[in-house]
Amino acid sequence: MKLLTSSAMALALLANSAAAEGELVIYHWFEYMPAELLEKFEAETGIKVTMDTYDSNEAMLASLKAGGMGTYDVAVPGDYMVQIMAGEGLLDTIADGELTNKGNIASAWADPSFDPGRKHSIPYQWGSTSFSVNTEDYDGEINTTDLLFNPPEELSGKINMLDSQGEVMALAALHMGFPQCDTDRDRLSALNDMLQNAKTHWASFNSDTAKEVLVSGDVSVGMIYDGFSAKAREERASITYAFPTQGYVVWMDNVVLLKDAPNRDSAIKFMDFLLEPENIAAVSNYARYGLGVTGAEEFLDPDLATLPEANPPETAGAGAFIAVCDQATQAVYDQIWTNLKN
């Protein structure tokens, strides 16, 4: 009899989980979420996951504003983009107590300026953006943004840039020693001229293939994210990540709850899932970036602590987050970017 009731309860539990089955549509960066983790989530919750990818914060925003709202549940914008999206009213608010694991968020990331009080987002991964050099092709000093913006003759035509406005412009500003969201006309003109000249040395703009072009040897210098570069190094040992003395871009990607999410409950479950130390550690182990959850150390690949891509040398300049500009200022940067891309 006891056996019967317990199996009935087990059945009821199964039925429950079947009833709780739903869908989840994720809008995520390309090649950055391990497929096994999604399978684990599907197995634990019975929720069917669909994932679409994008290759820059700006492209994601454009796509969401172009009729994408209401079709995705969560997205993974970078820090400055969380602020922009919240300002645009694209994010839903997570009520207090809705996230069971909210307490797991590391204190350093619990109240960031781009989302005070973590009302719309949870930390996902953080890292930096600069560039990597194939040291087989170039044996000079690599820790300088000159390699991107004022390269020596031998590297001309062997450079790939990320197709990402925010990161290219921020790095360019660091190269010139200018502030971001600058309103000084002379400096902005100088920035524009510098980029126009630098462009003549660039082979391509591509984010998705940032790793591939370095590994295949198609380019010798490529703008890239630190974790992506660590993965490139696994395939070609001579790929070295640079920490320019002028500074580099730092970022934190965050999982946000989108307004009009068709499967809001699934989205909350997914966020709780990613706040479990073991799960988010799996992302870090795969993507080679840092995480923002406490108690994950025991699950992390020990190599991560000593990654050359994540440990800037003393000579490195300061890391800078991308700033959010007002409309008039942004219009000038948009114009500079348009000039650059055409």
């Binding site: 406005q165 391509s204 591509n206 219009a331 948009d334 055409n342």
Partner: protein
């Protein structure tokens, strides 16, 4: 506009005249709602105001066209000058598509001519061979081309091995790669109409010319070419028009660095730019160019038919 397609008038039958409106209803409905109406909405969008960070505001303006044609400086308040950026992109597209067309013509014409002069039996097989690649997914063909042309790809390997070159040719991410890609994508479109025209050509005209001591190349230039001209023009249009709006070849083979019209438009909707009215305006300008081209073509075709 209907000049491109056969007007279908040779057998003017009216067997189903009473049902004709019912028979046409489904195509009017589907194409009217999902082709004609969208193009009209696109025209409207090209006159709307761009919203900060994507989207549109329903406020009529000429800003999109102004942005296309006039440069108001980095800060938007200088005196307007002619904007070369986008004109350059359009010019580059025309130039790339034009070179691809010429390349296709140079290879396509002899091929079409050769096939059309084969015995009737083998001709069908030749045509079959030419058409197969057209049936293969354009994306796959472009990817194949990218693989072939890579710095460390099979073409460079081959040329290095036979000693024709000592250093790999850098073709990928250049304009040449885009031209080759476009040429390769649409080559069958060049061969088939020319083939059809040469097949209809009456070779006794060549013989008559030979009897009058015309050299063979003179005959080709003065007799054959004028006779098959509609086929040649049709082939050029069929290569040029899709090349003009191509997106895959510049993106995959050109390194997405030197924009063509297709990539410029795509960037406004899927990429960083997010400027819908401008994308709609650029589409409108491209569409107008193509329609003008087709009208000239239709006019030529009518003249050729009238003189024939």
């Amino acid at each position: 506009m209907a000049g491109g397609a056969a007007p279908g008038g040779s057998t003017a039958s009216d067997t189903y005249a009473r049902a004709r409106h019912w028979l046409l209803m489904p195509s009017w409905a589907v194409l009217g709602v999902f082709v004609l109406a969208p193009v009209c909405v696109m025209v409207i969008y090209s006159f709307l105001t761009k919203e900060f960070r994507g989207g549109v505001i329903w406020d009529p303006t000429l800003a999109a066209y102004d942005q296309f044609f006039f440069d108001r400086g980095l800060f938007g308040d200088s005196d307007p000058k002619l904007q070369w950026t986008y004109i350059t992109i359009f010019w580059r597209s025309i130039w790339q598509a034009g070179l691809a067309t010429i390349l296709s013509l140079l290879i396509g014409f002899p091929t079409a001519y050769y096939i059309a002069t084969r015995p009737a039996k083998t001709r069908a097989l030749w045509v079959f061979l030419i058409t197969i690649p057209y049936w293969v997914n354009l994306l796959i063909r472009t990817v194949s081309m990218k693989f072939l042309l890579r710095d460390e790809g099979p073409l460079n390997d081959f040329l290095l091995n036979i000693g024709l070159i000592t250093e790999p040719l850098q073709i990928i991410n250049t304009n040449l790669a885009v031209q080759l890609g476009l040429f390769y994508s649409y080559l069958p479109f060049m061969v088939l109409p020319i083939y059809a025209a040469v097949e209809r050509y009456n070779f006794s005209m060549s013989e008559a010319a030979a009897d009058l001591y015309a050299t063979k190349w003179t005959t080709l230039r003065r007799i054959v070419l004028p006779a098959v001209r509609p086929g040649v023009i049709a082939g050029c249009i069929l290569v040029f028009v899709p090349s003009l709006g191509a997106f895959l070849a510049p993106d995959l083979l050109g390194g997405a660095k030197n924009f063509m019209i297709g990539s410029l438009i795509e960037e406004q909707f899927k990429g960083n730019a997010g400027n819908w009215p401008f994308g709609a305006a650029a589409s409108m300008i491209l569409l107008s160019m193509v329609l003008i081209l087709l009208m000239i073509f239709a006019h030529q075709q009518r003249r050729a038919e009238a003189s024939a």
